[in-house]
């Protein structure tokens, strides 16, 4: 039996149908991400699990127990919000100790647990400070510590890194993932950021904009094999071409499968300044470089092929960089085409 099960969850806010027949299962110890754009229902589902919203219908199971109508405080879940939501009147120590105090744990045990978790999130120097004296990243680590110290059955993270700058966000992603591994704590992470979801998750549930789960799977499954146009456009940086556009630029007469859209990942397109040797399993294109941008270890080209813009990513391990307006040849293997 799965550790967490959502069965036929429906939720309306007024006339808006936010969650439509949501069914999903999560195994113990997994790091699961609910991914989708703003207003797609992912946070509502998380709040239903926490007991902060009651679903209109459906059942939520946790560790074999129906918790759909169970009170919030008896669920034993930890939650971290985007805006930290630390108690402004309490010091870092008191914020972290709060959950244990409310549970009536004796003072020595509280002190021991709080010190352990403070060490884990590397906040030892800040125990006596108030939240307003800390940076955003430090505040979010306090929020993490406050949730972890009570050993919740599930850790819920509602866009916890959205308000943090890019560099610190990457660091915190790593820290959260490390702690998850260390404690093996089942975690549900909500984000609209697909890169964050890819980096952190064991399983991703991708929400459509209409309150359905569009697709689920491991990050690599979702990235390499999106099932729908929405999934391909949300998850990867795919080149999304209509079948007619694709036939126009590759001179292909027939595709292996019926569909309306051809999706090609930028990194599977080969690029050269001379024509490729003709092979049966390749499609060919010729175009002009519109732009080249070096992003960390990748050169991102934009190529104009008969009026259609094609994105091509090349690993930056060669001194050869094609200049703007240079004529280049492109090739893509047939097996790397996704026809949707």
């Amino acid at each position: 039996m799965a550790y967490i099960e959502f069965k036929h969850i429906e939720k309306h806010f007024g006339n808006k149908h936010v969650l439509k027949d949501i069914n999903l299962t999560i195994e113990q110890g997994q790091f699961v991400t609910l991914l989708g754009s703003s207003g797609c229902g992912k946070t509502t589902l998380l709040r239903c699990f926490a007991g902060l919203e009651i679903p209109d219908s459906g059942t939520i199971m946790l560790d074999g127990e129906d918790i759909t109508n169970k009170s919030v405080r008896s669920r034993n879940l930890g939650m971290i919000f985007q805006q930290y939501s630390l108690f402004p009147t309490m010091t870092v120590y008191d914020n972290i100790a709060f959950g244990l105090k409310m549970r009536g744990v004796d003072r020595d045990k509280i002190d021991k647990s709080v010190k352990e978790v403070i060490k884990m999130v590397e906040l030892t120097e800040h125990t006596g400070k108030y939240p307003s004296m800390l940076s955003g990243g430090e505040q979010q680590r306090v929020a993490l510590a406050r949730s972890l110290v009570v050993f919740p059955k599930v850790l819920l993270l509602d866009e916890p890194l959205s308000a943090i700058d890019a560099k610190l966000r990457t660091e915190l992603q790593g820290r959260i993932k490390e702690i998850h591994k260390e404690l093996n704590m089942t975690s549900i992470f909500v984000t609209h950021n697909q890169i964050e979801a890819m980096r952190m998750s064991d399983i991703i549930f991708l929400f459509s904009n209409d309150g359905y789960i569009e697709q689920s799977g491991t990050p690599s499954e979702l990235y390499t094999n999106p099932k729908t146009i929405f999934a391909a456009s949300f998850i990867g940086n795919y080149n999304m071409l209509s079948v007619d556009e694709f036939k126009l630029i590759t001179k292909a007469e027939k595709l292996s499968k019926d569909g309306t859209t051809v999706a090609i990942r930028p990194e599977v397109i080969e690029i050269a300044n001379a024509p490729f040797d003709v092979q049966e399993d390749l499609y060919y294109m010729t175009g002009k470089v519109v732009s080249n941008i070096l992003q960390q270890s990748v050169i991102k080209y934009l190529i104009n092929v008969e009026g259609v813009k094609i994105k091509v990513d090349v690993k930056f391990d060669t001194p050869e960089v094609y200049k703007d307006d240079e004529v280049v040849s492109l090739a893509v293997n047939k097996k790397n085409l996704l026809i949707l």
Binding site: A50, L52, V72, R73, R75, N76, L77, G78, M79, F81, Q83, S85, F87, P88, T89, M90, F98, G99, M102, R103, Y130, S132, M133, R146, V150
Partner: protein, 271 residues
């Protein structure tokens, strides 16, 4: 010296010079008969009158009555204001029903109702405490209720998720977070309690500063009126000072928060 400290000293010096200068100007104007001191009295006469007021034993008699009325009203008004705001905050339906009614009642000037209170409760302490207490109640209630309604709901949610019950959440999370506004309300309540007591005494009493002011006015003893005004001012300053002391003890987190906001503001200005 720290820039902020220098600024504080400068402000204090300007305040002392301004108030001191005005007092000296007042004294000088009266002594040199630049204006008729019958209508305003003058500082040295007021000080002399306060000393006489004190040595005769009347000062303490009247002050103790007004203080008793004001403090009783402050305690009752604050207590009820906070409790009712908390009840309305917890049970939203009560807030929806009663807040518009309380707002309407609050818009009626208490001065117009004071004779009724005298009629209902007599010339003694009760009518003054009722009048002043009601004034304090409204100030504290609206400050507290506003703060409760504006509290970040996520703080309550996380408190509940961490295992706190309703009472624990109120005690540990909501009330402390609302404390700056509550203390702001109490600060307003201090003024309201004194004003309420004086109005009550003015309308009908046998003692107290308000009675003394009414009595002295009717005999054109302006110096005594001014003495009472300064004594009331002094009383207000002492009560506010006490509140500042309490505030500095229980709002350490808030002063830090304000300091950080100020720093952020300064940084923004530099850009």
């Amino acid at each position: 010296m720290h820039r902020e400290k220098r600024r504080h000293i400068l402000i204090s010096v300007i305040q002392i010079l301004l108030v001191g200068g005005l007092i000296l100007l007042w004294e000088w104007g009266a002594k040199t008969e630049r204006f008729d001191s019958f209508y305003t009295s003058y500082p040295s006469a007021i000080i002399k009158d306060i000393v006489e007021f004190y040595t005769s034993g009347d000062l303490w008699k009247h002050a103790s009555i007004t203080l008793q009325e004001a403090l009783s009203a402050l305690i009752v008004g604050c207590f009820l204001g906070i409790i009712v705001a908390a009840l309305f905050g917890q049970f939203k339906i009560l807030g929806s029903i009663f807040t518009p009614i309380l707002t309407a009642i609050n818009s009626v000037p208490q001065l117009t109702l004071a004779p009724l209170y005298i009629l209902w409760f007599g010339l003694g302490l009760t009518s003054k405490v009722f009048l002043a207490g009601l004034m304090v109640f409204f100030v504290v209630f609206f400050a507290t209720y506003g703060a409760i309604n504006n509290i970040d709901r996520k703080l309550i949610e996380i408190s509940t998720m961490l295992g706190a019950g309703t009472a624990q959440t109120w005690w540990h999370v909501i009330l402390p977070a609302c404390m700056p506004s509550i203390l702001g309300g109490i600060r307003g309540g201090i003024g309201a309690s004194i004003v309420g007591s004086i109005i009550g005494e003015y309308m009908g009493a046998t003692a107290g500063f308000g009675w003394m002011v009414a009595y002295a006015s009717s005999y054109f003893i302006v110096t005594r009126v001014m003495s009472c005004v300064f004594l009331l001012l002094f009383m207000g300053i002492i009560l506010n000072y006490l509140l500042n002391f309490v505030e500095s003890k229980i709002l350490r987190w808030h002063s830090q928060h304000q300091k950080n906001n100020k720093l952020a503001g300064n940084t923004m200005q530099e850009y």
